[in-house]
Symmetry: C2
Subunit: 371 residues, 2 copies
């Protein structure tokens, strides 16, 4: 089977597990962090640079790409992999999260969501079927069902209806994808907000429909961390143990441990790339702001314990100058470093599961990351 998932090691200390997910573009070792390439490019990076730092799979956003350049253009250019010159796996989200982020701009019915393009104001109608068709045209290895991500906070009744609609849409997505399961794995999405009963219901309903992998959506939306942790525990107790679990849009180094120790396998977040462009860099010593004057004449690298291209070749002083001067190379070096840090961290987490010293590794890794 194209998308076989095998759990290869388990932590004796937590629910953490290491595994391998097969895809048509090669295997993914989990737990994995997936850099985000919203508009079919991980901002400021080339595919070769992403490979050099060990990126195994990247994300692209259906919503943005459907608006521009349009999925038919991507298809005409050979699909996402060929267009981007990226030969490893790709995951596309369904566009649901972005559509609902538009808030006032959208109108939801059980049929789908009608909204106006933020690019040109034209009216667009996104349905489960259309979300699948777009993702088929884009051609990612892993694609997502079209879901509603309920706002936070929200009333129980609203979240219940929303989770029910997401489940109905999941069925329609699965039907629309019938026959394509060997080319693209369609993952279900569990919603349910911060309500344990709805999370459990949504997990059961999604598993009942049946998917080769399950995402957990609607977390890291502003809720207190214990809420996120409880939702993960409720959901992962229900999701099949032998299938991959993907915590969408998460997160910080601390969140990686929160997720992994509760059985999550996949993560994505714009944090390392977006914060890099503002000068914020993540290191084993904590977070630094490279714009800070304290770095002006510092000839040390961003992090002495990092072996990325930026840390091998450039001083904090130079990188600070590049940020002050608003040079593109500033974004490049900070992004390169941050992605290397996030990917290295996840690879360290994986190793600690295999070597069964997850807790020690966590304590050391988060020494400079207070909760």
């Amino acid at each position: 089977m194209s998308f076989e998932f095998q759990v290869t090691s388990r932590s004796s200390q937590t629910a953490a597990r290491a595994g391998v997910l097969q895809t048509p573009h090669g295997p993914i070792e989990t737990p994995v962090f997936m850099p985000v390439g919203t508009k079919a490019t991980v901002k400021s990076m080339t595919p070769e640079e992403l490979q050099e730092i060990g990126a195994q799979i990247i994300l692209a956003n259906t919503f943005h790409l459907a608006l521009r350049p349009g999925e038919k253009t991507v298809k005409a250019l050979g699909g996402l992999h060929k267009m981007m010159n990226w030969n490893r796996p790709i995951l596309t989200d369904s566009g649901g999260f972005q559509v609902f982020s538009l808030g006032e701009l959208n109108k939801i019915t059980s049929e789908g969501v009608r909204f106006r393009s933020p690019l040109d104001g034209s009216e667009i109608f996104l349905t489960p079927e259309r979300a699948i068709q777009i993702q088929q045209d884009l051609g990612a290895d892993i694609i997502m069902v079209f879901d509603e991500c309920a706002p936070y906070p929200a009333e129980h009744e609203y979240v219940k209806k929303s989770a029910e609609m997401t489940a109905r849409w999941a069925e329609r997505c699965k039907a629309a994808h019938a026959g394509h399961e060997d080319c693209q794995a369609l993952f279900g999405i569990v919603q349910g907000g911060m309500y344990d009963d709805l999370r459990a219901w949504s997990a059961r309903a999604t598993v009942e429909i049946g998917f080769p992998g399950y995402a957990i959506g609607g977390l890291s939306v502003g809720e207190p961390k214990p809420e996120m942790e409880r939702a993960l525990e409720v959901v992962n107790a229900i999701l099949p143990d032998n299938q991959p679990r993907y915590l969408m849009g998460v997160g910080t180094p601390q969140d990686f441990f929160r997720g992994v120790e509760r059985g999550v396998d996949m993560f994505d977040c714009v944090l390392p790339t977006r914060s890099a462009r503002t000068g914020r860099v993540y290191t084993s010593e904590g977070v630094l702001n490279m714009r800070n004057a304290v770095h002006a004449t510092d000839d040390a690298p961003i992090s002495k314990s990092c072996n990325c291209y930026a840390c091998r070749n450039y001083s904090r002083g130079y990188i600070r100058h590049l940020f002050q001067a608003e040079e593109i190379l500033a974004s490049r070096l900070a992004t390169w470093h941050n992605l290397a840090y996030f990917i290295d961290l996840m690879s360290g987490i994986r190793r600690s599961i295999i070597e069964d010293n997850f807790r020690d590794f966590k304590a050391a890794a988060l020494a400079h990351y207070p909760d």
Copy 2:
């Protein structure tokens, strides 16, 4: 001698010559195009990428670097080469051109130029001695005298006084640089606007002071091309045949031929890098605008005859998308290509001098570049 220049081939058809200029950071094969790294970075490129496309020497701007991060900061970070991670030759201009571009903001006396920093409004006094001291702190291989670049058009009397002041400043620069000639070659600059008598006077006066190389300034400032050509002929008839000649801030593919066939050896210009960031790319088929809708679904590279990273791996359609989406990778790929094109073109010119088929090469290279 550190900065030996040898003319190794001459065109039998024109005054074009090929040569080699030795520097402390290695040899430069001439004629040469020097990419501009104004603020100690060639915008969007890494040093390794510049090497990959064959850049032999890059430029940095004294004026910008003195303002930010300040030459003392550059010195504290090990000088330009170490700070930028660039081990090949560097040339710094003297800051004269930028100071005079400020126009109303500056006040010129025979002592130097007083102006307000465009960054923070603070008052700065730039003199020939200070321009040399800054360039010594920056540590480039080739540095330039502090000159006045007269505006165009300008009256004969103004240009005469300006050229005379530039000559006096050149003497002061040479005196200020005494004892450092083996580490950094100080080039003189010929001014004189569009007046043949002043160009000749300035060339003679500068040669009389004596420098290891000579720049020709104040051209490509808006004058008709025949004016530039005549100035080059007047000046190069006077400049020593066995020393390098550098035409500052020039230019287009057409200008390269104009300069080379009149005996110029070195060129620099922001054209390939600046125009790349707006989507304009140079090819053997002429100039294209990558933002144009005609490229939307075109899976051909920018140029089929180009072997640069961008042309080896990406379609016009994808690059157009990246420009539309204002992605950093758009600037990277277009800059990469344009610099590769300019450097390849100059290397083709050099080969045509060695093989003595300069005119044929020029006709073919400019087939799609009407004057």
